[in-house]
């Protein structure tokens, strides 16, 4: 068995990147995720695997370096926190429009604007509904533990390359800053030129030696051809929605009420469920692991069994809209949230349950 370590979520992102054979990280520091690049700089992977680690002059530069690396079929990534991710939206929509794979880590903090440095989940809309302009989606993974910070780096790259689509790890300040036990993934070598040719040779810019040139762009001047491309993108998203939904159900078998929460909020809710069950309230948790694609079907299927659903988010209520769409009026769906970097307590979530459903 691999060695168990005690590490911060942010440190694990860095370690997992090196171990999964990442070719390049381009970032710009911001709390609460600066340990990602700090750890990479301390580890000096360029001496070990040849991975490039570069502190760019700005977030804009960082995401465009990712764009460039992704064009070449390389495994490239960036990380930031909310205000920095907003700056990266232009690059992200271009990357999505050019159908390129990459990994973006967002360790969310309170907003809007510069906001606070404390944990929040108020960037759910931005992450799951595109974020930049145009009809597009990122594949969004929501880790709820330090172990998942490790696991989702590899998974994120896998999905990004499978669908030629940017993937995002949507964490928050709690998951980034906390330390837990983690079993790090074994080392995978970086892809060789031959492997890149095999995996991404049909589109990547690998030098046109003896073949037609590849053009990577998100620009199309003909509206009908752009619409055809949009249809192709939408078909890809339907495929992602059909094949890549991931979620976890905890204590749902006998539940009368359901909490839906992701990331650190889902961890806090597990404590609330322990407290509620001690008080005789049968409650379960459905934790979306992929936020896009959203577990719409799984939530809809719970409607026959459940008397009421409560979404718990560190926001004014964003995911609750997707839950209401899934439920389509069949059961009462309420939201409980804290904002601005305030983390809800397990006790106040139990109170919210009691108040909303008159328990």
């Amino acid at each position: 068995m691999a060695e168990v370590k005690l590490m911060k979520g942010n440190e694990v992102i860095a370690e997992a990147a090196i171990r999964c054979g990442c070719d390049g990280y381009f970032g710009y520091p911001i709390t609460p995720q600066s340990e990602v690049m700090e750890t990479l700089m301390a580890r000096k992977p360029w001496e070990e695997t040849g991975m490039v680690v570069l502190q760019a002059e700005s977030e804009l530069a960082a995401i465009n370096m990712v764009y460039g690396g992704a064009c070449c079929g390389k495994k490239v990534m960036t990380s930031s926190s909310s205000p920095g991710i907003s700056l990266k939206q232009e690059g992200l929509t271009y990357i999505a429009g050019a159908e390129l794979p990459c990994l973006v880590v967002d360790v969310v903090r309170g907003g809007p604007g510069l906001g606070t440095i404390q944990p929040a989940q108020s960037d759910y809309f931005q992450a799951t509904k595109g974020g930049g302009h145009g009809d597009y989606h990122l594949i969004v993974l929501a880790p709820a533990s330090v172990q998942e910070m490790n696991d989702f780096v590899d998974l994120g790259f896998e999905l990004a390359f499978k669908y030629r689509n940017p993937a995002m790890i949507l964490a928050d300040g709690v998951i980034g800053q906390m330390m837990e036990k983690v079993q790090l993934s074994p080392y995978k070598p970086r892809w060789t030129e031959e492997e890149i040719e095999k995996i991404s040779g049909s589109w990547a810019l690998t030098g046109k030696k003896g073949r037609e040139r590849h053009v990577i762009t998100s620009l199309e001047l003909d509206a009908h051809r752009q619409e055809d491309f949009n249809k192709k993108l939408q078909a890809k998203y339907r495929k992602i929605e059909a094949n890549e939904v991931r979620f976890e159900k905890i204590l749902c078998e006998d539940a009368d009420y359901l909490i839906i929460a992701y990331g650190s909020a889902a961890r806090i809710c597990q404590k609330s469920i322990e407290l509620a069950r001690e008080a005789g309230i049968k409650i379960g948790l459905l934790r979306p692991i992929t936020l896009y694609p959203f577990p719409t079907q799984a939530i809809a299927e719970m409607c026959g069994q459940i008397k009421g659903m409560l979404t718990v988010e560190m926001s004014a209520g964003q995911m609750v809209e997707d839950v209401r769409l899934a439920v389509n009026g069949r059961v009462k769906v309420e939201h409980y949230g804290r904002m601005g970097g305030v983390v809800p307590t397990p006790e106040e979530i139990v109170e919210a349950l009691k108040n909303n459903f008159e328990l």
Partner: protein, 183 residues
Amino acid sequence: MTEEIIIAGFGGQGVLSMGKILAYSGIMQDQEVSWMPSYGPEMRGGTANVTVIISDERISSPVLTRFDTAIILNQQSMDKFESQVKPGGTLIYDPNGITHHPTRQDINIYRIEGARLAAESGNPKIFNMIILGGFLKVKPIVKIENVEKGLQKSLPPRHHNLIPMNIEAIQTGMNHIETANQL
């Protein structure tokens, strides 16, 4: 067994590293652990606290407001966390700088003169290990040999020569913790 602990004091007192050593010790005896710091704009002289959970089972919330044990190292933390100890729980504090001593009757309260003992030893850096020793005397949730193993894991090899001094400080803390209120 699940022990939910808050360690709170000034930045620079070694609050976060004490929590880390405790968490590492839990790993050394195959338990689940979590370590969640307050990571606001704290710095040396500001307040700092860390929630450490050690459990035989999967840990649910890393963020808590009710604790089995509060280890309190300044007045601001006393004001904030005395009320958050579960009834029947434990409060350990260093009276140095405390003007309002804890008054609850429904919890076990212990005093440890960590700051004074560290100053007398001539090495103020061992303060947090003295406090840790006091805690382990009243709550022996991790074995000393696992603390030692944890130190070996968490410290870079160049600092391994400091481990005996740290273990000695833990012993000092164990020998000097006093009962202030026993249920």
